[in-house]
Symmetry: C2
Subunit: 432 residues, 2 copies
């Protein structure tokens, strides 16, 4: 098993967490370990990256950064001391401070959190240290795949097993550049793709991706398996998951991502896979978004009219409003859009629909929530729709819209905002 | 109660039927009675209108029409004789034949079926006879409302109660013109609208409009009440009902249409009304159409792309294909169209979607049936969707599409063609 293992900030917040990481690494033996900067070990902690940004700002304004940098020094010194590591932490901290004081770039300063984490972790694990500046090529916030792949082959392959700090790489001039979005997650994903890993382990402080918002279902369970596509649908609907940029490199090569909990490594976590051949459960996850509005357009014989749909969608396009869904009846079409996109433009839109589409009537309604019930095996499983709507009926939720048929993965249901949480809870309790 | 009563061909097929009509008229006292030409009293009968068209054709080819016209004569003579009516049927028949032989227009010839029915019925009922040629103005197959309303006021109001034959009117030159579609139904509807009737009774040989296709449910029951809008949805989906042109004049004025059975006048029939405030049943009717196909377009982030929908619908528009429905998921849209419209164009359409929309994938599937479950009170009634999908699950029907939300009136469900009848039966049995 070729494994790339990324550890988040909370997994490296202190020596105790470093020790957990070591235990995990000794067991699963990843070829590449990608560390974040130390995160908060407790609520009073500062994030190292925030402190380093502050140092850069102070220096940039001609001020001293000593006091702030002492907080950085103290964190790393404590970690090294607590690990009883034979490591020249003072030398590393002094060198870094000198660079900051000498006016290093903002990206360089920010990247030192991961860099110093990586230096310590490499020593602690007995892994080689490889600086991503020389491996991962970044241009305009995006990775350059061709150059990175060449550099991985030339400079990284011989060094494994190794530690490669997350969050940054180098530009064509060899300067440090950070990713604009996705952080260390994307570094791990890129390296997993470049060495064609069998699995990309993403170690966090949660036991996987939850099947539903824990603010609605307090004891929400993680999803054991979820496909990339299911994840996209859930994430579009607001479920908090990995950033799309962090999924893209491994998704291309169908490398699974394993979300695991550093604090409970025995727990199964969530495996994100390219395809689920046999579905574990009927419904993988549930997510939703509130505050949509509906333009209901009524016109007799609209389906016999050439260009009706084109004219209708053009009205929204020219008003720069994205159409979320467009369910249609016999003589009616509803255009569902986010309230924030269309608020204040209602009169203009109705007027334009009147001019271009000559409808019999146009109505507006607000406060619609959309709920995506996602599951690969769901649509082809008989009786799922029945269970779904029975559960909603039992909790007295009125269904304003149903949309199934485009995706093999999901049924999208529209309910009143006020029924939003109740509807999600009803569906979750039916299927979990 | 101002009533206009139209009687269909089977209601006037012979003297026995004329007697039933008289009993009905004596009870409900309509101000205007609109008769059709005598229809088939039994399977061996010819339709009078067909015979009259044949006469016209024969004369037009320089041939004798005597033998065919004898069939016409015999029908009317028998009716008058059986009714023991003091009416100069020979004079009427002779005059009509002379006009046909003298080369009267096709419309004139065809209209004589209703004309002669009306002459006999007026005598039989003791009603005045008014020729619609002088009342209903037709241009290009459509009625001219303004002229007709003026003529009704000038020439009809003083004559009521009266018989006005259906199916024809007059043009600006005073020539007889027939309606292109809708037949006598439209005459009744126009006159009901013009005199602002309280009810337009439409007497047929069925006990109302059935809630479902009797070929699927043998003992299908009629709908007691149905709104114009519900009827439109059912009729779009293939349910056999009145022609749209025949509904339009009364619909405008919210005059109810009462479909009644001449052979069982005590039965409630179906009342077609402008609005149903309190729904009688949850599901008013069920209708469906087979042989749709689906273009499933998959593209990540399509909802964030300006103009995606416009480009997609334009492909179908330029190929002159009407879009029936367009359900959408998160990263996918399905375009549902009639197979007959898109057959043979699949490759071209896929290619064009590829060029204009740059999708990740386009799939085609065939043999989809759409079923409209129609009922005014349905969407706002909690638990209806649950019962609907439970009934489908129980009969092992796999649901390929659900579309609810555009119309307050209906849920549209997509199933495989092979599940079509089973699905309709399951829904009907659940709700009736």
């Amino acid at each position: 098993m070729k494994i790339v293992a990324k550890f988040g900030g909370s997994s490296l917040a202190n020596a105790k967490q470093f020790a957990k990481v070591k235990a995990i690494v000794e067991k699963s033996k990843p070829l590449i370990v990608v560390p974040s900067a130390p995160g908060k070990a407790n609520k009073k902690d500062y994030k190292i990256t925030d402190l380093l940004y502050m140092c850069h700002q102070l220096v940039d304004h001609g001020l001293h950064c000593d006091e702030v940098y002492q907080l950085v020094e103290s964190r790393y010194r404590t970690i090294v001391a607590d690990l009883a590591l034979d490591f020249d932490v003072d030398g590393m901290l002094k060198e870094t401070k000198q660079a900051i004081v000498d006016g290093a770039s903002k990206a360089y300063c920010a990247s030192r959190g991961e860099y110093m984490s990586g230096m310590i972790l490499a020593k602690y694990l007995g892994y080689a240290f490889v600086d991503p500046k020389d491996i991962i090529r970044i241009a305009d916030g995006q990775w350059n795949e061709a150059v990175t792949r060449r550099q991985v082959t030339e400079k990284l392959q011989g060094q494994m097993p190794c530690v490669v700090p997350g969050f940054y790489g180098g530009d064509a001039q060899g300067e440090v550049v950070t990713f604009s979005r996705g952080g260390s997650d994307i570094t791990g994903s890129i390296l997993a793709a470049c060495i064609a890993a069998d699995c990309y382990e993403n170690w966090t402080d949660v036991s996987g991706l939850l099947a539903v918002d824990p603010n609605i279902i307090a004891d929400a369970k993680p999803m054991p398996r979820v496909s990339y596509k299911e994840l996209r649908e859930l994430s579009y609907m607001g479920a908090m998951v990995l950033h799309e940029d962090a999924i893209f490199p491994v998704k291309e090569q169908k490398i699974p991502i394993h979300i695991k909990n550093t604090n409970c490594p025995a727990e199964a976590g969530t495996l994100i896979v390219a395809d689920i051949e046999q579905s574990d459960g009927v419904v993988t996850g549930i997510a939703g978004r509130q505050d949509f509005m509906v333009f209901s357009v009524e016109k007799a014989f609209l389906h016999e009219e050439t260009g009706f749909y084109r004219k209708l969608v053009s009205v929204f396009e020219t008003n720069r409003i994205t159409i979320a869904h467009m369910p249609s009846g016999i003589d009616s079409v509803s255009v569902i859009v986010a309230e924030k996109d269309a608020r204040g433009k209602e009169e203009k839109i109705i007027k334009e629909i009147g001019i271009y589409c000559a409808p019999d009537a146009v109505d507006i309604s607000y406060q619609l929530s959309l709920i995506a019930v996602v599951g690969q095996g769901m649509v082809s499983t008989k009786g799922v729709a029945a269970r779904l709507f029975k559960s909603l009926a039992a909790s007295a939720v009125n269904i304003r819209m149903i949309n199934q048929g485009a995706s093999e993965l999901s049924i999208i249901i529209g309910v009143e905002n006020r029924d939003f949480e109740q509807a999600i809870a009803a569906i979750y309790n039916e299927f979990h």
